[in-house]
Symmetry: C2
Subunit: 408 residues, 2 copies
């Protein structure tokens, strides 16, 4: 697998044959920036998607699910600045009307258009502005459109997030490129806040869905900024099928395994980029919980640490206040937890052993790790073989500032 591109080199993406992107300014909320994106998938391509598990899912999520169940999508219609969530029946109508405006222009059935929205919750989507802007976005369609599109879907994000991989399948090069947005209200559950991944491989639609569901688990479903699951989370994997590589139709084939590994790698990098760009984040923190009885309990402990405001503020302060980590492990709700079996490390520095501070621990050693921009909190529960990794960030003044000022 050749890794190309990263979030800091946004221009280094590889275009995906058979997938075109166009962006324009519809003036939905922001001025002087693009806020409307259309992604076009070549005829004969396939598309898989996962969505938020939030019971208050947004109108576009409901409509996208409906459309996906009855047709293979040709277009994704994405706006930023307005989430069209908590908008009831009028919101559903607005989502459908937006799709209709695009479908009418292209002469395709309305259910071949999937709508996506991100932004403020509770305000009705201005359909008119979108309908007026659709032709401009269509005119702008190009396989080179990823960077422009990645910027247009941003809300509180400070950087666009794109990455690419190229793999060889039967001697043919296949490209996988993905983009994502997300910075706050980040604790995805079965999907994340708007991620779009495309490939020119030809993949059976059931395998495409299987690949996506596997890939989101260790990536988007293992990150948290603030524990708040969005109403609009969606992750889409499109396959145009225009590459000359042989079709992927066997779940046990080497080509499917290679393809899945590349998609997962794209998802992992985008998920990491979302946490790195977490609202107010100054540190990237991996919480690795090992020695658990089940993956589920490992994730419970990992999220309890990752969501603890006290752990997060200590991380912000670069303070090796390990008692807060220990207290979080203790309140994670595990039955019959034997605290003298538990060990905790900051990177390679053991801070807790046998229920108390490790004998050889020094504040200086803890301080050294905590001062880093990236670190791993590792917990060994000492009661099983399962583990889980959660990616998170710290809690800073700027998180409060961004979320106290957003919308006002």
């Amino acid at each position: 697998m050749v890794e190309t591109g990263s979030t800091s080199e946004v221009l280094a993406f590889k275009p995906v044959p058979g997938v075109r992107l166009g962006a324009t300014s519809a003036g939905i909320k922001y001025s002087n920036r693009n806020d409307l994106v259309i992604i076009e998938l070549a005829e004969g391509g396939s598309c898989a998607a996962v969505f938020t598990q939030n019971a208050f899912c947004a109108a576009p999520v409901t409509v996208a699910r409906e459309h996906l169940s009855t047709a293979m999508p040709r277009y994704l219609l994405i706006n930023s600045g307005n989430a069209n969530a908590g908008t009831g029946e009028p919101g559903l109508r607005a989502a459908r009307e937006s799709c209709k405006a695009l479908a009418a222009t292209r002469g395709c059935p309305i259910n071949q258009v999937l709508p996506f929205s991100t932004g403020v919750i509770g305000e009705l989507l201005p359909v008119e502005k979108i309908a007026v802007a659709v032709p401009d976005a269509l005119t702008a369609l190009t396989e080179q459109g990823w960077a422009t599109a990645a910027r247009a879907i941003m809300t509180t994000d400070t950087v666009p997030k794109i990455t690419s991989r190229q793999i060889e399948l039967s001697g043919k090069t296949v490209t996988i490129t993905g983009m994502a947005k997300g910075s706050g209200m980040i604790r995805p559950d079965m999907a994340t806040m708007l991620a779009y991944i495309a490939t020119d491989a030809l993949v059976d639609k059931h395998l495409l869905q299987l690949c996506l569901e596997r890939a989101v688990q260790p990536s988007f479903n293992s990150i948290t900024v603030d524990g708040d699951t969005s109403t609009n989370d969606a992750c889409v994997l499109m396959a145009s099928g225009v590459s000359e590589s042989p079709p992927i139709t066997d779940a046990h084939s080497e080509s499917f395994a290679t393809f899945c590994a590349a998609v997962e790698s794209v998802c992992m990098e985008l998920a990491r980029a979302i946490v790195l760009d977490g609202e107010g984040a100054t540190k990237l923190v991996e919480v690795l919980v090992q020695g658990a009885e089940s993956e589920s309990e490992a994730r419970d402990v990992g999220y309890t640490i990752a969501h603890s405001p006290l752990v997060k503020t200590a991380l912000f302060a670069s303070d090796p206040n390990w008692g807060r980590i220990l207290a979080a492990v203790g309140r994670a709700g595990l039955e019959n937890l034997e605290i003298d079996q538990i060990k905790i490390w900051l990177d390679d520095v053991c801070i807790v052993r046998a229920g108390g501070r490790a004998d050889d621990y020094t504040e200086a050693a803890g301080q050294r790790v905590m001062s880093q921009d990236a670190l791993t909190i590792r917990v060994d529960l000492g009661r099983g073989m399962s583990e889980a990794r959660i990616l998170t960030c710290d809690l800073s003044y700027d998180y409060v500032k961004i979320n106290a000022e957003y919308r006002t």
Copy 2:
């Protein structure tokens, strides 16, 4: 029931006959302030207690539980500045040695002393300093000692918290006075961060425990500042029995009901005072969840709202960003939640109805409520008869500041 005293009028407490308190400075962590408190219960009195459910419970919690199971306490020994948590076997020894210093001075068995600690986690308790200071604290014992003691047990608290009630039982006046400390790491689970309540009533020890367990549920067990359950939570109810009122020995008697109501009222006021003094708090927020299938699911929804950093920062900004409340309800994990049955209010202003913004809602009306110092977020799930109330506060710059700077 006569209500006397409040947290803002700290001197208005009523002393409890048969209960004396003394405070002194042991120099454990702070300088120029008291940090050691002894509470003495008259011979023949009884004592009930509940403790943290955090698996990493502190050494004094373990020792206090042991002592309670084998003897009726005569003395509580409380220090601030050091939590003696995460200290392993040496921490247990330190807690026992502290008790021994007091027991030796008074000539009582060591298991008649209960230890309590609050402060930084992970540092060994300086037993020598405590042993040296015990005689001073004993000399200071007085029934008038509540205000001094309430100040001595504070850590990041900005105000001492005391309240009193007096009730008539068979024509005799009985007093109930309580004090508490707590400001951060507040999401008590079966108890809270150090609360001490005393009465001169004569109460059967089993009824005293029953009374306490009932009283902590709607009070200390229904508040949250930051969702972090402390390792040292403890709540003690002492009855000296020196009043002339008849003994309370029947769980179905009117006198027990009257007594329980007064104890619950003391707990409610102290719990409210803890949230009001929550780290960085600028607003007191009641989250009332109604129409739930069970109290448990009502509490789940209430805590999801009360812990959401996005809801808490919107509260800090006085921004009626109700979409964040709606998103929190949606991610609370309720099965088969029908969103068009849900209604949400800010005080008397209905903001959400039928899954979307209420038709008659105006930003001005929402803004008016959000600008208040205290408000109620009320959610009606429309699927049952159960309800729960959670008290919480907002998330401000100062929460981050206090917790980024504490210890450093």
